[in-house]
């Protein structure tokens, strides 16, 4: 599973971004209409898609500025969950 490809699909669907696969991973998602309300909706979609639980301290737009940040967060949570499983 390529995390970035999956994250791009989720972000693109939620924010209605055409050609989401081509946008700069570091482009601020506020430009596409992300705000402090729908970023939580996005976070829940990410949780559901990757079957993970993002700690509540990461709730907030400051942790989800761009696709790159979201991927890093998902990778970190997945890594921690794997560590806890062993």
């Amino acid at each position: 599973m390529n995390i970035e490809t999956e994250v791009r699909k989720i972000v693109g669907n939620m924010l209605t971004i055409p050609n989401v696969q081509y946008i700069d991973a570091k482009k601020n998602l506020r430009f596409f209409g992300m705000d402090s309300l729908n970023c939580i909706e996005l976070l829940l979609m990410i949780e559901e898609h990757f079957k993970i639980l993002i700690p509540t301290e990461y709730l907030g737009i400051e942790y989800l500025h761009n696709i790159h940040d979201i991927c890093k967060l998902v990778e970190e949570v997945l890594k921690n969950e794997q560590l806890q499983a062993v």
Binding site: T16, G33, D35, S36, I40, L59, G60
Partner: protein, 280 residues
Amino acid sequence: MFEDIYGASCVENQVLSILKSEGNNIAALYHNSAISLKQVFDCMVTEQQNPYYFNAVPRIQEELSQMGIVDSKFKQSEACTDICGEISKCQDGEYYLIRVTPTFTKVCLNARAMRDDHFVRVEAIDEDFVIYNDIPEKVVKISADMLKKVFANQYIIVTPKAPIDDLLMDRLWKNRKFKAEEYTPYFFTQHNLEGIKDAQTRIRNMIQIYKMMCYRMAEYYGLYVDTKFIRDKLPQIEHYYALSQYYVLKGDATAKQLLKLLTDVNSLEDEIMSKLNQLL
């Protein structure tokens, strides 16, 4: 363009942005920001107001109109209205805010239309038109034909009439509806949430309004004292807002969690207001 602008609606954001672009210090216009959390609670939780029609704090553009600082003319277009021609011929110092269609709002501006009526500022540049959207901040160039298609038949002509000077700042200070120095602590208990339907949504709406007021307070009282202590608290209030939205979407918050959220915001208010009172 819309940085440090904390309007309660798109029109308020646009009016503030126009005044800022003319060199005014718009922080002075946030004079009614020190509304207490209890007052916001009463509007948003007890009375269940919609946050997009919150009216306990007067709309800035209405106050400015009443004081003769800004002239705002609301117009409904008629069959003969040539909106492109009108905008092209607008006078210096006149700004056009036009209502745009929901599809254009969502698809081209990526704006979350929480109300049906979304207004943007439009300027004529050569044969084309430039649209300035507030949230998300976006500048889009469109043709006259496109403008006619996206125009939703209502527009507002905004004309600043006087600058925000020391005299006006004094007047605004004296006319404050909510005064930080009159803050009386109020502490919420479980009793406040008893019998409230859909309490999580109501609390989310309350924090949405209170958060905006905290940003405004940092700006307004920052004209008189150092409000770094308020700015330092803003990430915390943003977190509470995010948590409240998380509870709304999950739909499984317990009464204990909601009370904890409410009392956390309440403590934050008390810290801010106590410190602000010491400094004023």
